[in-house]
Structures are given as C-alpha cells and as structure tokens.
C-alpha cells in the first residue's frame, strides 16, 4: 500500500481573505524545527516526554525554541515536562487535555519509549481524549531491519489510536503534523500518533506556514455530521414523545463534556425540568449538587439514580453509549422507557447497544440549543411535579450511606470531609478500584473537567500523572489525586515529578492494604479466596517514599479522631502534600449492580435502603467481567 503518488498529497488550506502569511513562510527549517513550530502555531503550551536517540533532534529544537522565545520573566513558552516513565508522560498529556479541553501533547523516543506510550494512547482513545503523540523512529532506511530501538509503532498504535501517521516523506511532515491536531480535536476526539524517522527530523525543509492533508473521506463525513441539524419535524417528534412522558430522564455521558455542552444542558433542564443522571465520564456535565441531579448511574451508581432509570418512561441519552458498566443487560435497561432518544457525534454509537426511537447525529451543544429553542417557541410546558417529588423521595430514601459508627476509618468519611472543605470545586483524578468509585460517589462536581478518571480502560496508575498534567492545565486550581495503595504503585515514580516541578497538588492514598476492588469480587464470586490481592506482607512505607521524593508534607492518618484536622491540614498545605489514610480494609463499594445483572437486582449493602430484596444473579463467575 505504498504506491508512489504522482499527485501532490498536500493542499494548502484555503486562506481566509486578508489572512496574513505565516511570518516563517518560506524559511528554511529542519524537520525537527517544523515539528516545534507547528506545536507553537497550534497553541501548545506544555509538552510531556522522555528523551532518547531517535527523538534528539526534536528535543534540541524544543530547547532552542524555548531559549529564543523566553518571556520577559524568563519563562519558557513550551516547557518540556520529564516523567519517570513514558506512560507517565502520556497520562500527564491526557490529564492536561481532560482538565483543559485542549489537545495534550507527548513526545517520546522510538522503540521502548513509544511502546511505553501504548497504554495512555489506548486509554485516551477509549475515553475520547484529544492528544497528539510524537514518536521518534529509526531512520527511514533502517525501518524493517530490526534496528536498535525499532518497534512497529504504526502497526501497534493503529489498533489503539484514532489515527497514526508514519512520516516517510519529509515534505509531508508539516501538513501531517497540523492534520494530527485537527484529527485529535474534531468529531469524536481522540489520540493521534505521528511516528517520525530521525532522518525526517533532520531533513532540510522549507516551512510553508499553512496546509493540511486532504483526508477527503474523513473530512466529508465530519462535514456531514457537523452540518447535521435538527429539522422542525425532528423537534416535533421529539417533543410529541416528551409531552406524553410522565417520568422523563436525561442520561448524560462524557460526550456532553467533550462537546462543551454543559451550559446547553443546564439551559435545557431549566426549560423543561428533566432530572439528570450521568455516567462516570459525565460527572460534572451537570452540577451534582442540583436538586434535579441524580449523580452517577450504573454498576456503582447511586441507588436513587438507578431506581430513577428503572422508573423512567422516557430516556434522553446525550453523548453516552450504553456501555456494559451502565447497561450490563441492555434489554433490561430502563425497562419502562417507551421512548429512548439519543444524540451523539459518532454515528457508530447510535443504536449500537440498545435500539432507540429517535436519534440525532451531530454536535451536542447545537442540538440541545435547537431543541430548547423549539420547545420554548412552541410553549412546551411539562407537568413534572409528581416526578420531581418522586425523584426527591428517591434521593432522600436511598441516599448514599455507610457505617458511621465503625471504629475504623471509613473511606467515605474521608471523601465527605474533602468535599465539605472544597465545596465540590477541586479537580480530582483517581486510580482504578474501590477508591475511584467512592470518589465518584461521594464527591461533588460543580462543573465539567473537574473529574479525571480512566473510565473505559480502567487503567491503574492513571491518577498521579493525570493530576500532574491537570495542574499544568490549571496552575491555580486545587488538584487532588485520590489514589489506591495498589494503583499508585504503578506510576509511583511520578511522585518525584511532582516535587521536581514544585506542583502544589495533593496526593491522597486510601490504603486498604491491597487490591480492594479485586477482593470485593473475590468475596462475591470466588468464596473469598484473595489470590494476589492482599498486600499485608508488603513492606512499603508510603510516607518514607513521599519524603524521599521531596514531599515536605507527608503523613499517615490512622486514628478516626484525627480525620478532620489532618484532612484540613493536608488541603491547606501550600506545596505538594501526601496523605496516606489507613482505611477499613473491608469497606465495600455499594450499591452494586453485578455484571450481567439488571438494576432490579442491585445490591445496596447494609447502609443504603433497598426498594426490594435483591434477586441473586444466576450467571457464574466465568460469565462475568
């Protein structure tokens, strides 16, 4: 598939009338300098990456760019943040992108540098996070020769990324790089990998200052989706069904955040009064403290959200994809909903899991604005008093709760205290496991982009580097990594990165001496045989580890009576702070809708009121994941 092309493969983007020529247009730049110049033109303000032979020309160009463009205060315009491991760089770029909505950029070397980047790229793909990852590659002539530090990155990443470019023709480098940014942020966002052989980085090029690859197929489909507008008939059909509904509910996913549609959602709810539940990825898309907010639904959703899903007769899915953590049994999901409407930017998600009665493929913000305008213009007023009262009763009667009298420190209490002190305004990242679910359940999120979690992939080790990236995106925000004792070990090398760059972020480890989430499943489905999930014989002293990496504030909380004061001190500390809390190792995540179970079979545990006795599921462990 490498035919020699006779046609020019790049075409300049049509210059808007009166557009100024790029000041460097026509200048002689090396390939590496082109890379850095396109970064600068795209507004990149921070890079994350680790050096190595195959990327040295780009690193040197970054050095020179920063040296010649330093601000009056000596600040570098494009600092390069060096992690302990390239996986850290990838999650930093992802954390930056999630917290800011901008494209995160990572730059790594060939071979092992690039393969260490596979996990963050896949993670970002699965959660639709915009990233551009530049990898060095062995020189063009050496590709395929099993050269030192050669890996088939374009093959490997093809299966994981939104797109991969292997740049073998230097004259296409500039347009390719610019196109990578367009691809990463357009349509359904995602990571784009650009693999650049070392000789291409060293090539002598003339900078054009404009131009992208044509990508006719992608651009045509994108244009069709973006043109997609709701007709009057579409709106009429939507409202005809909504007006029939007595118990309509909105199910909002990460797409609302990616689309910048949170305000439009707020306005839609103000106009028509539909209560809102969100997915794990959608937390913050709607202020969780709102009376109409039901917090998260799904496997570990709130009981009241899941009961509302059981009770609703109309469901509006916004940028949400009915995944197996939400609709484990698609046919039993929202069983009373006579009408399901779905809006998504990705045509492949419409009806993928659950048939829908109405759908629209297009930008979410515009769709919501259009629906709200149509409904208002046609005087749509819904009588939802009974439903609102029902929702309020569900929230009251099935509220989140736990053993408040236990002598052991309950993780939920730690999170409640953090929530009280931050007012639901902190930026939170997490590892993966019970602590992640507790943070999702017990913390409030007043706005989008405050909640950074590895949702689809569920990658342990995400929390710490993502928090670092987020702190670069929002230097003045209070950023807290809520981590697990096992998850944080995966990228614990990044503790040092926190202090190296003097980031004031807070690292909280909820230590239950092992892989709590795994133990919870082993308790439920494997008769409590804690194979490989107990760490009571492990010797790590997290406090010494944090101190060794330069944390001036590093404490262990072991007594319940010290909780409030210690948490307050931790959050108030001006620099990097590390708090390990020895929690009740048996604390569980409730509610729980077992894998492959329906919401009617939800287990609410001992402290959250259930509506009915749980019905045991009949699927054996082999059928579950």
């Amino acid at each position: 598939m490498n035919a020699q092309l006779t046609e020019p493969k790049t075409k300049p983007a049509p210059a808007p009338a009166g557009a100024t020529r790029h000041p460097l247009a026509g200048h002689a730049l090396s390939g590496a300098e082109v890379v850095v110049q396109v970064f600068a033109d795209e507004g990149v303000e921070v890079l994350f990456g680790y050096s190595g032979g195959a990327i040295l020309p780009v690193y040197d160009a970054v050095f020179r760019h920063n040296a010649t463009h330093a601000g009056a205060d000596g600040r570098e315009p494009m600092p390069l943040i060096v992690p302990a491991n390239e996986q850290g760089a990838g999650f930093m770029a992802a954390g930056y992108a999630r917290a800011s909505g901008k494209v995160g950029v990572a730059v790594v070397t060939s071979g092992p540098g690039a393969t260490n980047m596979v996990t963050p790229v896949r993670d970002s793909m699965a959660d639709s996070i915009p990233m551009v990852v530049v990898c060095g590659q062995v020189p063009t002539g050496a590709i395929g020769s099993d050269a030192f530090q050669e890996a088939p990155i374009s093959n490997i990443m093809s299966a994981c990324a939104k797109h991969v470019f292997l740049v073998t023709e230097p004259e296409r480098l500039e347009a390719t790089l610019r196109t990578a940014f367009t691809l990463a942020r357009s349509g359904r966002p995602g990571p784009v990998v650009v693999d650049i052989p070392k000789d291409v980085q060293n090539a002598a090029l003339a900078f054009a200052g404009e131009g992208e690859l044509p990508l006719p197929g992608y651009r045509a489909r994108l244009a069709a989706v973006e043109r997609g507008a709701l007709t009057d008939e579409d709106c009429a059909a939507f409202f005809a069904a909504l007006k029939q509904a007595r118990r309509p509910l909105i199910y909002a996913g990460g797409g609302v955040i990616a689309a910048g549609a949170a305000e439009a959602l707020r306005d839609f709810v103000d106009a028509f009064g539909l209560p809102v539940t969100t997915t794990l990825m959608g937390l913050g898309a709607f202020d969780t403290t709102d009376p109409l907010a039901l917090h998260m639904l799904g496997m570990h959703g709130t009981a009241y959200a899941n009961y509302a899903v059981e009770d609703c007769d109309f469901l509006l899915a916004l940028g949400a994809r009915f995944d197996d953590r939400v609709a484990g049994l698609p046919e039993a999901f929202a069983p009373l909903a006579r009408f399901i409407a779905q809006v998504d930017i990705d045509p492949a998600e419409v009806g993928k899991v659950k048939p829908v009665q109405w759908h629209h493929v297009g930008p979410l913000k515009r769709a919501l604005e259009r629906l709200a305008a149509y409904g208002r213009a046609h005087g749509v007023a819904l009588e939802l008093g009974d439903w609102h009262a029902h929702v309020a009763a569900l929230k009251r009667d099935h509220a989140m709760n736990y053993d408040r009298d236990s002598a052991l420190i309950q993780p939920y209490a730690v999170l409640e205290e953090i929530d009280r002190l931050t007012g639901g305004r902190a930026v939170i990242s997490t590892g993966v496991g019970q602590h992640q679910m507790w943070a999702a359940q017990y913390l409030n999120f007043r706005a989008p982009r405050q909640w950074l979690t590895s949702g689809s992939m569920g990658t342990m080790g995400f929390g710490l580097p993502a928090a670092i990236g987020a702190q670069f995106a929002r230097p003045d925000a209070l950023v807290i990594d809520v981590d697990g004792d096992a998850s944080i070990r995966m990228n614990i090398g990044e503790l040092e990165t926190v202090t190296t760059y003097g980031l004031p972020l807070k690292v909280l480890v909820l230590n239950n001496v092992g892989d709590g989430m795994v133990r919870q499943w082993q308790k439920l489905f494997f008769k409590g045989r804690f194979m490989a999930s107990d760490k009571s014989l492990h010797r790590k002293d997290f406090i010494k580890a944090a101190e060794a990496d330069g944390f001036a504030w590093a404490r262990r909380l072991e007594r319940k009576e010290d909780l409030a004061a210690t948490v307050a001190d931790f959050l108030a500390f001006e620099g990097p702070a590390f708090l390990e809390v020895m929690i009740d190792p048996d604390a569980g995540v409730y509610p729980m809708v077992g894998p492959g179970a329906s919401y009617a079979q939800m287990i609410t545990g001992e402290h959250i009121a259930s509506r009915s006795a749980p019905v045991p599921t009949d699927a054996g462990p082999a059928a579950m994941f």
Binding site: A3, Q4, L5, S154, V164, L215, Y218, A348
Partner: protein, 88 residues
Amino acid sequence: MTMSTAMKHTLSILLQNEAGALVRVAGLFAARGHNIDALSVVATDDPAVSRLTLVVHGDDARLAQILSQTRRLVDVLTVEHTATDEAT
C-alpha cells in the same frame, strides 16, 4: 467470535493509499471479531486510491456496526454494502 445468522456480505471499500491503511482495515475487522472470508485489493484509476472488496458473514446488526466502524477509519473514503448472499 462466531456468528449464528450467517449471511454473506460483500463490502466495497475505497481506501486512500497510505502507509498502513490496509492493516488498519484488516485490524479493525479482527479486533471487532469479524473473520474476513475473502479479500482483494485492486488499484483504481486514481493512483492514490485502492479498492478493497471484502466478504464477511454475520447478521444485520453486526453488519451495520462494522459498516459504521469502518467509516470511522480516517483513510477510508467510502464503504458500500454491495451484495448479500446465503452463506454456504
């Protein structure tokens, strides 16, 4: 993954002739559990474009899904479902 309702579907895909483009199409089908029964790649009048003809089997829902997923690939220009036959 095997499919119970085994109708054979012929898909015709116009593909930009980029490095790795064929691998991405074949990889997508493999990753989504489709076994490719037959595949041919031919040049077109446009040297930058190849035509892939691909035979898979599966029910309508699976076919619709793989068609949409194929349209998500950046190098893919168009995808058409050109024939349905009884599987043998």
